[in-house]
């Protein structure tokens, strides 16, 4: 007495699953990036819109071709992960990046950053940052040439970049000139395409926290470490080191903390692991920013912590429920 000729479907429990899929997660991430993306177009012009489109197309084509070459379905590109990589890569590049350099960056990000490891979920490093790292070696001039953004918010003070053509971090580091905080928040400063308007990144971050796409432990431990360490440096020698609030909102820290250090694939599993990663990355950022040869260190900090994530995962398993009392119980017997 079967209702269907082919018999009932037999699968292992559970027989229900939450609505979220990998695809939905990836597109939700892109949607939380929209405010920062829209603002970047206002600041740096329609050219930037073209860069986003070019990057998304390049990443999708690269992934599709590599998947085909690996004998897998090229339609896995529908999972949306390549779109996230493309958008994030554009956001960490300067506005005047050439289309050719961008395409090279995309190919490297997807091919060397992800597919050679086995594709989505198997990569060790954040693909967008792999692309960015490659471009800083391949196009050292382009990648450090900054342009002045359009004055979208007329009520804000005139930024220093009109004279210096430098990012606030570089100006602070090498010239001792400090950008005003409102400009850092709203992004009316020189810098990479998507990293300048910290407040729009924070908004995206809050949305992602609300949607449980990222863990607060990572964001708080990373930002907190930078705040505390730069704060100590500032207290010790205010003349050489700018204050901690400046460091939080200048450069790529906010974008890195909210969107790169929270990449699910390349960061630790547990909350403890997340805190270790966050503190480690924060410390590296501060060391590079204060003592290194570069004014900015978020990219290298996160890539280095990506490299140690497997070892963090090895030693930070959650303790099984009842573990502690099990030991106590054995001792008592």
């Amino acid at each position: 007495m079967s209702a269907r000729a082919e018999g009932f479907i037999l699968t292992s429990s559970p027989h229900d699953s939450a609505a979220d899929t990998t695809q939905r997660i990836m597109f939700a991430v892109v949607i939380t990036l929209l405010p920062a993306m829209v603002m970047s177009v206002f600041y740096f012009g329609l050219r930037v819109l073209g860069l986003y489109v070019l990057a998304i197309a390049s990443c999708l084509v690269t992934e599709s071709l590599t998947r085909r070459a690996r004998g897998r379905s090229p339609w896995s590109i529908a999972d949306g992960s390549a779109v996230v990589t493309a958008v994030l890569l554009v956001m960490v590049l300067p506005p005047e990046i050439s289309p050719i350099a961008l395409v090279v960056g995309c190919v490297v990000a997807i091919f060397l950053g992800k597919e050679v490891f086995g594709g989505l979920g198997s990569n060790v490093f954040n693909p967008a940052l792999v692309g960015r790292a490659f471009l800083s070696a391949a196009y050292p001039v382009q990648i450090t040439t900054w342009t002045t953004p359009n004055r979208v918010f007329a009520f804000l003070p005139q930024g220093i970049d009109a004279q210096t053509q430098a990012t606030p971090l570089a100006a602070a580091r090498f010239e001792g000139i400090y950008e005003a905080l409102p400009n850092l928040l709203f992004g009316q400063i020189g810098g990479s395409i998507g990293e300048t308007g910290s407040i729009f990144i924070v908004a995206g971050g809050i949305a992602m926290l609300a949607l449980r796409l990222i863990r607060w432990e990572m964001v708080v431990s990373l930002l907190g470490t930078v705040f505390v360490l730069t704060g100590i440096a500032h207290l010790v020698d205010p003349g050489s080191f700018v204050g901690p609030v400046f460091h939080l909102f200048a450069g790529g820290l906010m974008l890195g903390a909210v969107y790169m250090a929270t990449d699910m694939v390349t960061t630790p599993y547990t909350r403890v692991g997340n805190v270790i990663f966050g503190v480690g990355a924060g410390t590296l950022v501060v060391i590079i920013r204060l003592f290194g040869g570069y004014p900015e260190g978020v990219m290298f900090a996160i890539l280095l912590m990506n490299a140690v994530t497997p070892i963090i995962n090895r030693y930070t398993d959650n303790r099984v429920f009842g573990a502690q009392s099990a030991k106590a119980g054995e001792g008592a017997q």
Partner: protein, 439 residues
């Protein structure tokens, strides 16, 4: 009102409204029963009747084989036709005693209430009664209840936790029992308290059953000498799991790999309590149970009381037949239940639900993106993504070292997985391998 709960877990859609307000109905007495001899954890019971024997309601069919085993009784008047081998819903083969039912005589049978001198009861007589009645854990685990209530002399039992959680989606049979048989529940609590003298009796009910919380509270107020507390719990799955419920109700943690006895707690399901009352006050052993029949694929969902051994076809018939194209049949709930290939099974003591799902598309798996939602969901604090990866890589020793055997297969990890990876299936595979190869 602050609601207690356990750590982690998930919130599946509960699907309970369709049957939550439907009173329990008796299924028409089936003309044929197929009663498995192995419907509990432990050794299968041994038949004491033979082909051709006449049996009466409550008469012993099979005796327990050793301590960890449970008796099986006849629910009906009838004649044993034969003993056949057929699979249990969980897949294991078992002898089934087939009884041709004398419907009229069964219908005419009346259970007589007997006077019980509560003061004359002690621990031994209580446990003996539970054993004689063939009572097993009715929440689904079917562990023989008399074993649970026989702690080693060294264990100091001070707390009874009553499980009225019913956290599996769709299922409403425990909810209905708490509403319809509240007085009997409390009688059973008093019987158990006679035997054990609990310091605390905690009755855990999730806050989505406010009527049950109210009914039980009201009934409990009539026995001020019994130290019973109603503990409303925040709705979360798998709160009905023994270790989770104990943590939620009294904050104690059962050591990994140990039993609740270690920390002085015994947990009993509400259905188990009703069965205890049935035996002590009516002399009626565990011969029937309430099962929730629900899902989009059944015409009218019901909470049905049916004799143990009732063929599932009879339950479908009592619910008006199928509705549309049934894709999946589950015994139990959707989180831990078992999918059946056919309907050729019969009701056992552990069957709490029979679900007919029409939309049972198996979602496509995609690669693990290490989001660690499974890690955040696992109420046992395990690392499901690692366990599944070890299983897939055939690294069973490593899996075991990562506390594989602490998994009780609640399904929370696979439920939240955005990549739809069959985490529980992999873990189960590894557990079976470890057990069979004694790793």
């Amino acid at each position: 009102m602050t609601l207690r709960t356990f750590k982690k877990g998930v919130h599946p859609h509960d699907h309970k409204t369709r049957t939550a307000s439907l009173p329990v109905e008796d299924v028409p007495i089936p003309e044929l029963l197929r009663i498995p001899v192995a419907q509990h954890l432990g050794k299968p019971a041994v038949p004491v009747k033979q082909r051709g024997d006449e049996v009466m309601p409550g008469e012993l069919l099979c005796d327990a084989d050793g301590f960890v085993s449970a008796r099986v009784h006849s629910p009906v008047h009838g004649k044993i036709k034969k003993i056949v081998q057929q699979p249990l819903p969980a897949g294991r083969m078992s002898d089934h005693i087939e009884i041709a039912v004398n419907v009229e005589e069964t219908q005419a049978h009346q259970w007589q209430r007997r006077e019980v001198d509560l003061d004359a009861l002690d621990r031994d007589t209580v446990v003996e009664g539970i054993r004689d009645a063939g009572i097993v854990g009715m929440g689904g685990a079917t562990f023989p209840t008399h074993v649970k209530f026989s702690p080693p002399p060294t264990a100091e039992i001070d707390t009874l936790v009553i499980n009225g959680v019913e956290c599996e989606p769709y299922l409403t049979c425990d909810h209905r029992l708490m509403l319809e048989r509240t007085a009997e529940l409390l009688e059973a609590v008093r019987i158990l308290n006679r035997g054990f003298g609990f310091k605390r009796i905690l009755f855990g009910i999730e806050s989505n059953k406010p009527d049950a919380i109210e009914a039980v509270s009201r009934a409990a107020a009539e026995f001020p000498d019994t130290p019973i507390e109603i503990v409303p719990l925040k709705v979360k799955y798998p709160q009905g799991a023994e270790k989770m419920l104990i943590y939620a109700a009294c904050g104690r943690t059962v050591p990994a790999g140990k039993l609740p006895l270690e920390i002085g707690v015994i947990v009993a399901n509400v259905f188990t309590l009703v069965a205890i009352e049935d035996w002590f006050f009516w002399g009626k052993p565990l011969i029937d149970r309430v099962i929730t029949v629900s899902g989009d694929g059944i015409k009218s969902a019901r909470n049905l009381r049916a004799p143990i051994g009732t063929p599932f076809e009879d339950l479908v018939e009592a619910c008006g037949g199928f509705n549309g194209d049934v894709a999946k049949v589950l015994v139990g709930g959707p989180m831990m239940g078992v999918a059946l290939p056919t309907l050729d099974y019969s009701l056992t003591k552990g069957s709490s639900g029979l679900l007919f799902l029409t939309r049972a598309e198996v979602p496509a798996e995609s690669p693990c993106i290490r989001c660690a939602r499974c890690v955040d969901a696992c109420p046992m604090n395990l690392m499901p993504l690692k366990l599944a990866a070890y299983a897939e890589a055939q690294k069973f020793v490593e899996a075991k070292q990562h506390n594989l055997n602490d998994c009780f297969e609640c399904g929370s990890c696979a439920y939240v997985c955005p990549s739809k990876i069959k985490l529980v299936a992999w873990i189960r595979y590894a557990k079976n391998y470890v057990r069979v190869h004694k790793l």
